[in-house]
Amino acid sequence: MKCDLGVELLSGYLDGELDKEQKAEIEKHLKECEVCRKEIEELRQLDEYVRTAEIEEPSREFIFNINRRILEKVKKKTRFRLFRFSPILAPAAVALLVFVVLININRPVRFASLDERILHAEVEAKKELDIEIPKAGFAREEVYAKGVVAKEKKALTTSKVPTMAKARDVEVFDHAKKGEAGAFGIEAQDEIISLTEVQELQIPRDRIVRAIVDSNGKILKVATGNTIIPERDTMLENRLQGQQLSPPLVKGRRTQLYVDLTQEKVTKN
């Protein structure tokens, strides 16, 4: 038995990208059409498989060179320089590269450290993409205006790490975009989540990492992307993967969270 509803619509529905009416129509259709229900399940399964694929990480030299080039651009006091870069399409490289391509520096900023510069450059690049992201060097006392936050704290537990050192705060910033908070059934609040972490991570200089979590708050994948030393990224990912980061923040879709892992209190430089 076949249904003539296009894969395209189902694919769009799965990604939550249909408008209200389309979405309602599809949901109505799904109630009656088993073929399409199966199709959606298959697509979901496909996504799960894709996520388990081994993504090749860029080499150390590659990341170093990109960061070096970003810094050169940041140092130059020019306005509106667009960074052109011919895409190399190794899977992981694409994600990193797309940020680089859209860097737009419009005024000089002074930085305390190399990492801050890199982070700043990445933040600027992300602004081009209209993604909400907390400012670099963000101290814990500040609030993140548009975050979607959960209402209770939750301890991180892990069975993988052999030594459990003292608790540290892990800040979680959600980059939900404007206007979407209502759709997820949780109110946007001006608040930062503080979680207690029961392990000590030996990562002194990385500040913000990006974690992809599923709708249960379980970490699927971690990317720092703004460190010069890729091995640390892998170490960090191994330690955090599978851990519960927070209670459900977003129904349905996975979301990306920015996790602040500074060891000592952030001070303004």
Binding site: V7, G12, E42, V50, R51, A53, L89
Partner: protein
């Protein structure tokens, strides 16, 4: 080699078989969770193209999976 490992290798190989633009869009959406808007800005294509290309990419990948014996649960 565990079943899990075999499966993972097959999936990785299948992804490598995808044409470049299909693989790119799947990674951006499924792996990196970019929205269609973000993808359209990054790849500089219209939003409608994002939706259709992504759907075709998924279909193509599904076909490759079948070829390589990756079963659906």
């Amino acid at each position: 080699m565990t079943k899990q490992k075999v499966l993972q290798e097959r999936i990785t190989a299948a992804m490598a078989k995808l044409p470049d633009d299909y693989r790119t869009i799947i990674v951006l959406k499924v792996e990196e969770d970019f929205s269609y808007d973000e993808i359209s800005k990054v790849l500089k294509i219209p939003k409608g193209t994002v939706m259709s290309r992504l759907a075709r990419a998924r279909q193509k990948l599904r076909g490759i999976f079948k070829e390589m014996g990756v079963q659906n649960k």
